[in-house]
């Protein structure tokens, strides 16, 4: 296992990038519910959209374990700046990695260079009005027709649904789930923006309506019924770990703000930092952050080595980190008092964003069920 100190310089570069190109926009993104083009351009130039992709198609080159850790640290830094902006990079990776890992040679050759350069941004469309945690119950129909398939149905709550250039769409075929590559300008696909979410308001969510939406045969990734168990699962598995790292970054931002505020704000003739009940909150934050960071670290390390343990490690990291950020953000608002509750406070934004982290990419309860299942299986050996 490699230790964080080896990566300080790399992490610092992403923190500097975030402070320059993301933090100044974070509140605006939350208020306006959209990510400005200049932020996306800065991410493009910095190589954010290439991270996590294979080197022969434009991703960074190097030792896989090293790259997996760097990828995690990038998401940590992005999350520290804005959960909404991290979400854009996250879903791009989740959708794109399905093509990079499972696509045909032609699909990889066409899409992956466009994705790594950031010329095209991807989204992953699994959820439907009647289909949430139980994604295997997918209802959107793909029917084989002359020369390809037609999609009929609705996806909803899709991150970057308003903005992505291409969607990886889970559909039902006769023998089970399948994944299709659907450019956003495909005829028969309509996007309906969703506004006013609790948090992650810059996710640019949309409902996607597919009405007699024709796709050529080459749009199918692999074959059904592996659409969920292997293809979408690859994206979700990566996304879970990206998100866990983002929670660590959000938590770091909270802790740093609290340390500053607790030292500069005085009540009862003392800095807040002097009060033991405030110290308890700082202690809990510190401990949660250390624990979440280590879980993420271990998960990235196992993922980089393509270990079978990576899926469980990522699940545990996301489960812990997403709950930790909810505890931490709630305490961060508490330490900031009225200031923390104000519209200008990043703390209240992070508290709202934190709740989203417990719902997406496997809700807390769904992950609890999965982790318990792993434990039962292993314990019986």
């Amino acid at each position: 296992m490699r230790w964080p100190e080896d990566y300080n310089e790399f992490h610092r570069q992403w923190i500097d990038f975030t402070e320059k190109h993301i933090v100044p926009y974070a509140q605006q993104v939350d208020h306006e519910e959209r990510i400005p083009a200049e932020v996306i351009q800065a991410l493009r130039q910095q190589g954010a959209f290439a991270s996590g992709f294979p080197a022969d198609k434009g991703g960074p080159a190097g030792d896989p374990e090293d790259l997996a850790i760097r990828h995690g640290l990038m998401h940590e830094a992005l999350g520290a700046g804005s959960a909404s902006i991290q979400g854009l990079v996250n879903v791009h990776h989740m959708g794109g990695i399905i093509i990079a890992r499972w696509g045909s040679a032609a699909q990889k050759d066409y899409w992956v260079p466009r994705l790594t350069s950031g010329e095209c941004l991807a989204g992953l469309a699994i959820t439907e009005p009647n289909v949430g945690s139980d994604a295997a119950a997918v209802e959107l129909q793909a029917m084989a027709v002359q020369g390809g398939y037609t999609l009929e149905g609705t996806k909803t709550w899709i991150t970057c649904g308003q903005s992505a250039d291409v969607f990886l769409v889970l559909a039902r075929m006769e023998n089970g789930p399948a994944i299709f590559i659907v450019p956003s300008n495909t005829e028969g696909l309509t996007r309906i923006p969703i506004h006013g979410m609790l948090g992650c308001r810059g996710y640019m969510l949309a409902t996607l309506r597919f009405e007699r939406c024709f796709l050529p045969a080459e749009a199918l990734v692999g074959r059904s019924p592996f659409g969920l168990t292997h293809f979408a699962a690859t994206g979700l598995d990566q996304g879970r770990l990206n998100l866990a790292w983002a929670c660590v970054g959000m938590a770091r931002t909270c802790l740093e703000a609290c340390l500053h505020y607790a030292q500069t704000r005085h009540q009862f003739n003392a800095a807040l930092a002097e009060f033991q009940l405030v110290q308890r909150m700082i202690c809990r934050m510190t401990t949660d952050i250390e624990a979440a960071r280590l879980l993420c670290w271990r998960a990235s390390s196992t993922r980089g080595r393509n270990s079978p343990a990576a899926v469980k490690a990522s699940t545990i990291a996301k489960y812990f980190a997403s709950q930790a950020i909810n505890r931490i953000a709630a305490d961060a608002v508490q330490i900031h008092g009225a200031v923390g509750c104000s519209a200008q406070s990043p703390m209240q934004r992070i508290l709202r964003d934190a709740k989203i982290m417990e719902v997406i990419e496997g809700s807390t309860q769904v992950l609890e069920t999965a982790i318990a299942r792993y434990t039962y299986n292993e314990a019986a050996v």
């Binding site: 499972w102 696509g103 045909s104 990734v221 692999g222 074959r223 019924p225 592996f226 969920l228 168990t229 292997h230 293809f231 979408a232 699962a233 690859t234 979700l236 598995d237 080595r305 393509n306 270990s307 079978p308 990576a310 899926v311 469980k312 699940t315 999965a370 299942r373 792993y374 039962y376 299986n377 292993e378 314990a379 019986a380 050996v381």
Partner: protein, 87 residues
């Protein structure tokens, strides 16, 4: 990564069997047991199985390899590995 280069059918069988036993609560599987019928077709297990086979036997599973019949039984997985590594 495993240090030993696995070649024989028995060795391949033994390694996959060991992984399945660890994943399936210590249950003893015969070479012909249908793991999907036993309820192990979920995505968390599927991803672990792919990583295990790739890491243990040093090859990449492509989407063309994804056929239910390649993963249904221990025997089928052994045949897939043999084909992929040319054993």
């Amino acid at each position: 990564m495993s240090e030993v280069l696995v070649q024989t059918e028995e060795q391949i069988t033994e390694r996959i069997h060991g992984f399945l036993a660890r994943s399936f609560a210590g249950r003893t599987l015969s070479e012909e047991d249908d793991i999907f019928a036993l309820g192990f077709g979920n995505s968390l297990f599927a991803m672990q199985l792919v990583s295990f086979l790739e890491q243990e036997f040093h090859f990449q599973i492509e989407s063309d390899d994804l056929e239910m019949d390649n993963f249904r039984t221990l025997r089928a997985m052994v045949q897939l590995v043999k084909k992929k590594i040319g054993a």
